[in-house]
């Protein structure tokens, strides 16, 4: 009887500890952000002349938000970003899973080298890469074309590749083989059987891809300089001048721009963390 009690106590202490840790993490994440939140309600001069943790004079000052929404081309930016995200996610998921499928299920010459090159790809300084390939994109008319960014993001990235490899590896090859016995082709196995089983990995990979696309301004400015081709990441830059920047508007912009992804993430995560498919695992 006593031991059961102490067990219970131990779990509740552990639980309390867990929450304590999580709350500390939450504080560390949120505390620096408070300054931005406060700044978004300040006027320009108020922002510049008060310390960052000082509360705004007027909490009803939504001018900065109005400026962002009216002048920031947020609607166009959001629509363009959604377009890019939609196609990039489809293409990159297809390409990544196809490569991961080949890597985990087939043995073939050169496999290890390809893997190494995918790793290398993440270390090539992208600003130099753009200096080299921008010319070609310009030459075929892909500048000011949303598909330029889609193509740039459709390549296989090493982290997604490993993620998919991990999931494919956890699926027993017996699953494939029984399907092949029934006359399925490899393509069917990949498309009809394996792909649906790695949904959590697809969502995880897409969340990361979306975050990258959403925040990448370098390629956006380079390949899509036209105003009506603006994307979400360039919304903020609309308020950053070469000399003078409207930081309080940018603060509001940060909140406006970050919220959709945050909310999207909260909704999407139930797919990520639903747990790996119930049956058909190895063992």
């Amino acid at each position: 009887m006593r031991t059961v009690m102490s067990d219970k106590q131990r779990t509740s202490i552990l639980k309390a500890l867990k929450y304590l840790i999580l709350l500390t993490v939450v504080f560390i994440v949120i505390y620096p952000l408070v300054g931005v939140f406060l700044a978004s309600f300040k006027t320009k001069i108020e922002y510049l002349s008060t310390d960052s943790m000082v509360l705004p004079l007027n909490w009803g000052n939504f001018e900065n938000y109005k400026t962002v929404l009216l002048k920031g081309n947020v609607i166009t930016g959001f629509a363009n970003t959604l377009f890019i995200i939609f196609f990039s996610c489809i293409f990159s998921t297809l390409l990544c899973t196809m490569v991961a499928y080949c890597f985990t299920r087939f043995e073939f010459a050169g496999k290890n080298y390809i893997d190494k090159f995918y790793m290398m790809a993440s270390f090539v300084p992208s600003i130099i890469v753009h200096l080299i390939i921008f010319k070609d994109f310009a030459h075929v008319g892909l500048v000011n074309n949303l598909f330029s960014i889609v193509i740039l993001y459709s390549g296989v990235d090493i982290v997604s590749l490993y993620l998919f490899k991990q999931y494919f590896n956890q699926i027993s090859v017996a699953v494939d083989e029984s399907a092949i016995m029934e006359g399925c082709s490899y393509v069917r196995v990949y498309w009809n059987i394996l792909l649906p089983m790695v949904k959590p990995a697809i969502v995880t990979a897409c969340i990361i891809k979306i975050t990258y696309i959403y925040n990448d301004f370098y390629t956006a400015f380079l390949y899509l300089p036209a105003t009506e081709k603006g994307v979400m990441s360039t919304v903020l830059y609309r308020f950053i001048g070469p000399y003078s920047s409207e930081w309080s508007v940018i603060a509001a912009g940060i909140i406006v721009v970050s919220l959709p992804v945050f909310i999207g993430f909260i909704f999407a995560q139930k797919y990520v963390y639903k747990g790996f498919s119930d049956g058909a695992v190895k063992g």
Partner: protein, 450 residues
Amino acid sequence: MKKKLLYSIMAGMISAGLLTGCQSGTSENSQPSSTEAEPSGNEAASETGAATSQRDVTLSLGFHMNEKYDDVILPIIQEFQKLHPEVKEVTFTGLSSVTDEQQVTRLTGGQYEDVVLIPSILLPSELPNYFAPLGTTEEMAEKYYYGDYLQVDGQSYGCPIGVVYEGIIYNQDVLDQYCDGIVPKTLDELMDCCEKLHENGITCFYTNAGSVWPMRYWDNLAITMSGDNDYANKILTTEEPWAEGTPLRQADDLLAQFAKNGWLEADVVSANQWDVSLASLASGDTAFIFTGTWALSQAQDNAEALGLPRETIGFMPFPYKNDVSADNPLKLRIAQDLFMAVNKNTEHMELAQEFVRFFCERISLPLGMNETMIDGGQNQPELEFLSSLDYVEMYTSPAKDNRLQEMAAVAEIDVFAYDGYLLDYIMIPSLNGEEPQYDKLNELWGKNFK
């Protein structure tokens, strides 16, 4: 069979995506809109040229100050269109947030506007690769201040968008309160004033060194102090430009001393504090900012926002010496700003060349600069008083030798260009109780003479 279907669907999806991409791209591009940027001047022009009569012309313009498009840039465009009705449209690409790295990439990719701002990091020797000459150096120098500044082989490639004076923007209220209202005219007066300001917890100079570009005024101070308008080019042949007694050393020593005395802003490293510095000047927490007069109206705007009269903020030459009089005047540098150029591949060369001059001659005043024309160029009204001061002598520097940038690259000291070296080698050591690293600078510069 089903397998084949799947193959073709997948291949189809990808290729269709690429194809529709191209199509949607071109069709959207052909819809004109006032703020649209065409992918490239020549392409856009040839498209319209083919579709309509020869006379309809579209020019493209790349300029920063996006936020001033409606108020400042558009009226100039409309005025130009009145003179040249065949110019149906001038498209605009805002370059405010396009970094120099991106702009260089756009140049190398051939994707830049008919009339465009020259990125300041471009090597002058590269200019003919991208831009058309605007005239001979003599002709341009006669007409414009710094009209010959960006030149290759006797041809001038950059049209200056305006000129500014280099000096100190100050807060009169602060001087009234702590320095008996005296605007320092000599170095001793400046030092006395700074001492008093420092005792009272006022930041004497807000340098904005973290942003790097504001430091070029401190560098140019060496030219002013040397008395030799062409001093920047003299270091081409100087093995040790930071040796004891050289003008560069004198100017940098001044900065080092300010740093040692604690007269600068607390955090000199953080970048992008320009707005903070202007607000600090307006509110009286800072007394001086050493910069160009283009910042004067910005600083006055800040004062106004705090409910102070615009006159609170004034401008003065940098008092770098003593015994100032009409016979021994303070020199005041008329400084170049940015330059514009014409795309060498433009379909409408003559119009573009006319437009670049037209634009540059009119853009200066609204941006808070003096006009760039030597004859008949107007100055900002609030700077008119300077010409009545008999102890001030204005000067311009001759064009910078193109080799200077190459030598700077060898030494990796961005002297007379970006001037980040002042922070690394002069200010940070001084702030941390060390001596400025002049020997190191000399050693690096010496690489050019090996």
